[in-house]
């Protein structure tokens, strides 16, 4: 009997903790959004964070986009050539990059490259009591530290995704047309007639804006709520990447079902 009660207790604690952390994360988010005007008043903070969150992620995004586009084109060609349909290679590469791979892969890379760095940075600030000392000086750390990073993440990911898509499509063209010899005209013209600007490109950008929002939110929340020990910071960094990946993949299914059905 007592074992059952114990089990119920454990489940109850888990549920209440989960609900509480959702609540804390939402309050945290609303405080960040209230800090928007401080970010507008001090754009230099935002630009500094855009550099460390966006520009420093460029290399990995460009590198992965090149190889993803090349592999996609190569595999697509091998499959399509059996049906004599290799002229549709452009459509295949462009649509899969714009609808799915661009937003999702850049979000996953972004959470690994920038999200984990944000969590570790803020977790360490908390562990070394930098955030607490800011509060002592009547500086709100959420407005001064968190909000610029949040908006930098929100802006950076859609920009990185655009680059990912464009570079991926171009490297797909290099492999498909220049190397494998798919007709250049049909590669581009079929792509242009099948890819819809609003239905595909804009929806892909909406996806990536949602991912940027979620990934940055999770990363900042994990850092801000880390236990102020070295072990706590390490756990928060792991959680940040794992939760971001799960949230991105789950949301991706939901958004795809909403947009492309």
């Amino acid at each position: 009997m007592s074992a059952v009660i114990n089990l119920l207790q454990v489940i109850g604690v888990f549920v209440i903790n989960t609900v509480a952390s959702f609540g804390r994360a939402s309050i945290f988010l609303s405080q960040i959004i209230l800090g928007f005007k401080d970010v507008i008043l001090r754009p230099s903070l935002l630009i500094k964070e855009l550099y460390s969150v966006g520009v420093l992620s460029l290399l990995i995004i460009v590198f992965s986009a090149t190889f993803v586009g090349m592999v996609l084109s190569l595999l697509g060609y091998v499959t399509l050539v059996d049906f004599g349909a290799e002229s549709s290679l452009g459509v295949l590469v462009a649509l899969s990059l714009i609808r799915e791979l661009g937003p999702v892969l850049s979000a996953l890379l972004f959470s690994g490259r920038a999200g984990s760095a944000l969590t570790a940075e803020i977790g360490l600030m908390k562990a070394t009591e930098q955030l607490a000392s800011m509060e002592m000086m009547a500086v709100d750390p959420i407005r001064r530290i968190i909000a610029p990073r949040f908006f930098a993440g929100l802006i950076s990911l859609p920009l990185l995704t655009m680059l990912f898509m464009a570079i991926g499509i171009y490297s797909g063209y290099l492999v498909g047309s220049v190397w494998l010899g798919v007709d250049e005209g049909s590669f581009w013209s079929q792509m242009q007639s099948k890819v819809d600007f609003q239905g595909d490109v804009i929806n892909g950008m909406i996806k990536s804006a949602v991912f940027g929002f979620v990934v940055t939110w999770i990363a900042l929340y994990q850092g801000y709520n880390a236990y102020p020990t070295s072990e706590g910071v390490s756990r928060a960094t792991t959680n940040s990447v794992v939760y971001s990946a799960l949230a991105v993949l789950g949301l991706d299914f939901l958004l795809t079902a909403l947009m492309f059905m």
């Binding site: 520009v55 242009q192 819809d196």
Partner: protein, 155 residues
């Protein structure tokens, strides 16, 4: 101050690069140019069967793309499918008795509308109607005809 200036320049370059990528996506990858560049004029045609014709399918003249299908609906007055297409405004010399046929590009390719000019002197203008049409060839019907022919030959 120097490092902050450097940061500003790199961030600016990053944003500009992303915008260039976006313009590239808009103009080169998707069909945004085709929509905005040419308004054209609309003509409609009724078909008994449109097969697998879809919106945004090509409208061709001797194989040259001159427009796109903009709308497909079922007309309850005539019990036929009514297809509206937009033809580029520079193709303003099509006679009123132009014939519209639905063909398939390749054996399993997509379907498109092919226009064959007639002999009238009057030309098509906005919201004209094409009277002479030829429906899509449905493979099942063709096979059905073939089978009945075979059966009647045997007798």
């Amino acid at each position: 101050m120097v490092s902050s200036r450097k940061t500003e320049i790199t961030v600016g370059a990053f944003v500009l690069m992303a915008l260039l990528a976006f313009i590239y996506l808009a103009l080169n990858v998707s069909n945004l140019t085709g929509l905005s560049a040419d308004k054209g004029y609309h003509v409609s045609a009724s078909f008994d069967n449109i097969g697998g014709l879809s919106k945004r399918a090509k409208v061709t003249l001797s194989g040259v793309a001159v427009g796109r299908v903009t709308d497909i609906r079922y007309d309850k007055e005539t019990f036929r499918a009514k297809v509206t297409m937009r033809i580029n405004s520079d193709v303003n010399y099509l006679p009123t008795d132009t014939q519209a046929s639905i063909y398939t590009s390749g054996l399993l390719g997509e379907q498109y509308i092919s226009l064959e000019p007639g002999a009238e002197d009057d030309v098509l203008t906005e919201s004209s109607q094409l009277d002479i049409t030829q429906s899509a060839v449905v493979l099942e019907e063709l096979i059905g005809q073939f089978m009945t022919n075979m059966a009647t030959k045997k007798d």
